[in-house]
């Protein structure tokens, strides 16, 4: 049985800065990394592999250089890596992205039964959290988002029980497999690759599938298959640090002032 892990290569956005003069994104020298949530998804897959002996396939849709990210997945123990790369996949929104990913997963399913698909909760660039549900819906899998604990996997009964982390509450949910899970950081602590595995992964194959392999309608993928488009990008108003009031001499007034400020931005959970 296969576990498919979807990994997106993203720019390390914590290193992104806004040029104060031109007010544009400074991307110079910013490395690409695996989306951090996806490394937790991969880790969970590897743990299930250790426990049940399933095979782990890492899949990514992206430009040719996303191969580097998949190679890292091989270095921590993924059995196979597939890069979905084609000009016609480019410029995709989440609808088009999930189309390509779900097609690739279906294709994998033809070779070996897919039991689980693991995604990150969201990416740190697009930030939408929509691709996972897109895959689950297209492939008719159970959809379990925001998983922070996997309680039980019943391979024979094809059932999985997880805990989901929601606002102010947790839910224990049981669902039939195949299932698509999106995972949060609290789920686990990703392992660190050993050097022998790293060295070995250097010449393992990362398969590349283009649209000839997936045979998708070009109007349903990439830019053409994307109902949303980004019309404009601008820099947010930077909130510079601000010293509120005079806390030394007027603690009461200052506290009220702070509460007002938080309220005006609707930041207080009351």
């Amino acid at each position: 049985m296969l576990i498919v892990v979807c990994i997106k290569q993203v720019p390390d956005t914590t290193q992104v800065q806004i040029d104060p003069v031109t007010n544009t994104l400074v991307r110079e020298g910013i490395p690409f990394i695996a989306n951090p949530y996806d490394t937790h998804a991969l880790e969970e897959a590897l743990r299930l592999k250790d426990q049940f002996g399933m095979r782990v396939v890492a899949v990514s849709m992206g430009p040719p250089n996303a191969e580097a990210t998949l190679r890292k997945a091989l270095a921590v123990g993924a059995d196979e890596a597939i890069l979905l790369s084609d000009r016609v996949f480019g410029g995709a929104d989440t609808l088009a992205t999930s189309n390509v990913l779900s097609a690739a997963i279906k294709k994998l399913n033809e070779q070996e039964e897919v039991g689980l698909v693991l995604c990150g909760k969201q990416t740190i660039d697009g930030d939408t959290a929509q691709v996972g549900p897109g895959i689950a819906t297209r492939n008719g899998y159970s959809q379990l988002t925001l998983v922070d604990r996997v309680d039980q996997v019943d391979l024979a009964g094809k059932k999985i029980r997880v805990r989901r982390k929601l606002e102010g509450r947790h839910e224990i949910v049981e669902a039939p497999m195949p299932a698509m899970l999106t995972v949060v950081r609290e789920l686990n602590r990703p392992r660190y690759p050993t050097v022998p595995l790293r060295l070995e992964s250097e010449d393992r194959e990362v398969k590349v599938w283009n649209n000839e392999a997936l045979k998708l309608d070009v109007n349903s993928i990439g830019l053409k298959g994307s109902p949303t488009w980004v019309s404009r990008i601008f820099s947010p108003e930077r909130e510079k640090g601000e010293i509120v009031g005079d806390g030394l001499h007027d603690p009461k007034g200052t506290s009220r002032l702070l509460i007002e400020k938080l309220l005006s931005k609707d930041l207080l959970p009351v």
Binding site: V16, I233, V244
Partner: protein, 438 residues
């Protein structure tokens, strides 16, 4: 006035990348180019083979970052300027395709807001959305409709009217008691198919994002995530503004060729509308033939985080009030606990406070403790050593209370109060309590 008859060919120019603007959006330009002359480099930026450019401007239009413009040689530029002077304003061509699209889109009307509830308890964001939805509906001249799913939740329809809805679609059945993607998905898709809304808004909550992503996929329309701003443009299209790249940029997203236009909206961003007691509207009960037997997904247990408080998980908390050496002693942490309780959060600590034995190690935030990313982090009596900062600087909002105005914590704080925490914190608690009583 004599117009020269010579047929001057309007120079089309060549596409060119403007240095430093590209955000590596994922090769939109490359895929838009009809003659395949754009390739992407390792940094994810386009390399345009300008010689072969046919000047179709597709890449320019598609680039979200306005990173590509058309370049003209000085001669061409001169020609253009002349043409500009002479040419009449170009007439909008009648595009048959556009007309067909317009009539298709016209079938969709009204603004819907999905009312989220857990065990009958509504999510506040739903009311915020009714406020925004009202604005949008008024701008479009359509109805604002609340969509209520659940078991025994008719009261939420009335509540929706109080917050501005004209009408409510009510799906009320035991199978809807707990949110399960499959069930809600089927019902909402059925509703969309029959009633064709032009806009659907949901809270960008765990539930909202789970459902919206599935619905948009089945309906085959665009979905914009986690919006912080919504507006209507001059063509009845929804302009959806949202942060991306970890909040480093804002993007305005359009979905102008598809309906419904779906968006999830970040909680606490839209203002809560005033509640109009006794406002009424039409409740449209909808029945969805879903049999519990067919639904294999079961919610076995819902754990309220506020109740099961024996295990405090600082790493996953949404509100954290942390204390440092400035707390002076273990007993004073009760003060922070009060504030944390008001916010529904937990108490964290700096290593100094942990070393002093005032707090257990599992509450330590920082380099050798937990890394936290709460919505609000309040640092009380913490100086802000780098070992502490690395554990909390990704918090959405940082508030620092410290009596030393030079303390490095103020460098990362969004709001700082220079003062004695023993005076400020109790005032904050009082202030929030008063607010709650209002």
């Amino acid at each position: 006035m004599t117009v020269e008859k010579k047929p001057v060919k309007k120079p089309r120019g060549k596409a060119r990348l403007i240095e430093g603007r590209c955000i590596a959006c994922g090769a939109r330009c490359e895929s838009s180019c009809p003659v395949n002359i754009i390739s992407m480099n390792d940094a994810g930026e386009p390399v345009i083979n300008a010689e072969k450019c046919i000047g179709c401007v597709k890449c320019v239009k598609v680039c979200p970052a306005q990173a590509i413009d058309m370049f003209f040689t000085p001669e061409e530029q001169q020609l253009l300027d002349e043409l500009m002077k002479t040419a009449d304003a170009a007439l909008e061509e009648d595009d048959p395709e556009a007309a067909a699209l317009a009539s298709k889109l016209a079938q969709y009307r009204n603004v819907w807001v999905f009312i989220e509830q857990t065990e009958g308890e509504p999510a506040r964001v739903s009311w915020e959305l009714l406020g925004k939805g009202r604005e949008l509906a008024d701008a479009l001249g359509v109805e604002l409709i609340a969509v209520v799913f659940g078991e025994k939740v008719e009261n939420l329809c009335h509540e929706s009217f109080a917050y501005g809805a004209d009408k409510a679609y009510l799906v009320d059945a035991p199978v809807f008691r707990f949110y399960r993607t499959e069930v809600y998905l089927k019902a909402l898709c059925q509703l969309i198919e029959t009633h064709k809304p032009e806009i659907i808004l949901m809270g960008a909550t765990g539930l909202g994002r789970d459902l919206a992503g599935a619905v948009a996929t089945v309906v085959g329309t665009g979905l914009t995530a986690d919006c912080t701003g919504l507006g209507i443009d001059d063509k009845r299209n929804l302009m959806q503004t949202r942060p991306a790249f970890g909040g480093n940029i804002m993007a305005t997203i359009m979905c102008d060729k598809f309906r419904p236009q779906m968006a999830t909206v970040r909680p606490h961003v839209m203002t809560l509308p005033e509640r109009r007691e006794g406002a009424s509207g039409e409740i449209v009960p909808i029945s969805c033939p879903i049999d519990e037997k067919d639904i294999l997904t079961k919610v076995l247990e819902v754990i309220n985080d506020k109740k099961g408080k024996d295990h405090v998980d600082v790493a996953g908390a949404e509100f954290i009030v942390s204390g440092g050496r400035g707390m002076m002693g273990p007993a004073n942490f009760a003060l922070l606990k009060e504030l944390a309780d008001e916010l529904g959060g937990v108490v964290g600590a700096s290593r100094s406070a942990v070393d002093a034995g005032w707090m257990p190690h599992d509450r330590q935030v920082g380099q050798t403790g937990k890394t936290v990313r709460p919505k609000i982090y309040i640092a009380c009596g913490i100086s802000g050593a780098i070992q502490h900062l690395v554990g909390m600087q990704d918090s959405d909002l940082i508030i620092a209370i410290n009596r030393d105005k030079e303390a490095p914590i103020f460098e990362v704080a969004h709001y700082g109060i220079v003062g004695d925490l023993f005076q400020v914190v109790p005032e904050l608690v009082l202030g929030i309590r008063e607010l709650k009583q209002q």
